[in-house]
């Protein structure tokens, strides 16, 4: 016999179910007056530094239907690549930027939208830079454990080519599932980024 490591096990995950919006974005689903505003509904303030961008996308299931009951969360660095977190030791992040966004998606189209800024580069382990990116987390009915993925920017070709995570992905044909093309829509730089849960064009999800 050896000694026990005596470590606790993580609480097991369960699906967010069809009514995740009641708890996480109650105002969106008509429960008003409990919380003044939904968490993560507004990422920007007038003083926030950086280029204003919009991210739009949908989450598709294995038969190509857009989910209407998903919740998408984003977490990103500020324009200088700093995180507004106590674990950030490289400098002080923009006090006018939370880095966190949450979208219930449109109730009829399922389209999620984030108005945010383009993040700066964040270092990898050995201080090598990573290409600018946004971390996404997706839950919904039928998803038993939240899915982690990333959004990289289509106009950052050089940085993407040198990115230590993108360049390590074995199946090169799947890399584009992480890269959002840039276009001007309504006078604003917009990145279209659909997430495919299953099938031919399945998005890369990470075990982090």
């Amino acid at each position: 016999m050896v000694q026990s490591l005596d470590r606790l096990k993580e609480s097991p995950s369960q699906t967010a179910g069809p009514y995740v919006h009641i708890g996480c974005t109650p105002n969106v689903c008509g429960i008003e007056g409990v919380f003044p505003r939904d968490l993560g509904a507004m990422m920007l303030q007038p003083e926030t530094r950086g280029e204003r961008i919009r991210i739009i996308g949908r989450v598709f299931d294995g038969v190509g239907i857009a989910l209407k009951d998903a919740l998408v969360e984003v977490w990103q660095a500020d324009a200088d690549g700093l995180y507004p977190s106590p674990q950030e030791t490289r400098g002080k992040a923009d006090p006018h930027f939370t880095g966190f966004g949450r979208s219930a998606g449109d109730m009829t189209s399922g389209e999620f939208t984030f108005d945010t800024i383009k993040p700066g580069a964040v270092p990898f382990k050995n201080s090598r830079p990573q290409a600018p990116h946004i971390t996404l987390w997706i839950v919904a009915r039928g998803i038993n454990i939240g899915l982690h993925t990333r959004l990289y920017f289509g106009d950052e070709e050089t940085a993407n080519a040198a990115d230590p995570i993108l360049s390590r992905i074995e199946h090169r044909s799947r890399v584009p599932t992480l890269i959002a093309p840039r276009a001007m829509e309504d006078g604003r730089p917009t990145y279209r980024h659909d997430i495919v849960l299953q099938g031919e064009k399945e998005t890369i999800f990470f075990d982090i």
């Binding site: 096990k9 007056g33 849960l197």
Partner: protein, 240 residues
């Protein structure tokens, strides 16, 4: 506050993405292997929510939607601690909860169950864990409800929990069940979890010692988030 990378998630302990008895998972489960990603700052950091996030009634679902009286149903207190895998308290964790009313009905446009809405019950609440990881909120006991999966599937009474720890890698959504509910062992969503010991971790025991006499029963629900390595060794190995 320790700030290293998180211990690897034990994927065999969690439900697999595909669990055919829970039918919706069939078309919503990724089929390719997850790509392993060593934690970077993007995963080790996460949003911070302070007390200013909360209103005075956010943790009181008996009062936070009430219009002209208390909601119908048994009054309960749910409390416990948020810990990490090394049994260290996780202070400042944001806990968001949602649930059906005492009749098993959710306040949601897409909800079609014939049980009535309760005009005094909204069904959402939130709170932050204290320095010692402890949290509590007050609510009414949710009812079980039927759902379209098999011809006669019923969800056991449950409260949905969403938890933010200190890193985005710790992000977790789960459900709390109530001790003694026979529906727990018949539920296809509960059964997505392969290990009975893991399921038992989601069943809150009745806590008579913390019950408020003549008022509300208490249930105790501890939550464990992923633990993290100390930064000391990690810095050394990184070397630069």
């Amino acid at each position: 506050m320790s700030a290293g990378s998180f211990y690897q998630r034990d994927r065999r302990w969690h439900p697999p993405a595909l669990s055919p008895a829970y039918k919706t998972s069939v078309t919503r489960s990724p089929q390719r292997a997850l790509v392993a990603l060593d934690n970077t700052l993007s995963e080790m950091t996460g949003p911070v929510f302070g007390q200013e996030t909360l209103g005075p009634l956010d943790d009181d679902m008996i009062r936070n939607f009430a219009k002209d009286g208390d909601p119908i149903g048994p009054r309960i207190i749910v409390h416990g601690r948020v810990l990490d895998e090394d049994a260290r308290p996780v202070p400042g964790a944001l806990i968001e909860v949602w649930q059906a009313n005492a009749g098993g009905r959710y306040r949601h446009k897409k909800e079609t169950y014939l049980a009535p809405l309760d005009p005094n019950f909204g069904g959402c609440g939130r709170t932050l864990s204290a320095e010692d990881g402890s949290y509590r909120f007050r609510t009414i006991m949710p009812g079980p409800y039927p759902w379209p999966n098999g011809p006669n599937d019923w969800r056991p009474a449950h409260i949905h929990f969403s938890i933010f720890g200190h890193g985005f890698a710790q992000r977790l959504i789960t459900q709390m069940y109530f001790e003694g509910d026979p529906l727990i062992w018949k539920c296809p969503i509960v059964s997505t979890i392969p290990d009975r010991a893991a399921i038992e971790r989601l069943i809150a025991p009745l806590d008579l010692a913390n019950t408020v006499p003549m008022d509300a029963r208490a249930y105790k629900f501890d939550i464990v988030l992923r633990g993290r390595r100390s930064t000391l060794f990690e810095n050394r190995m990184e070397g630069n």
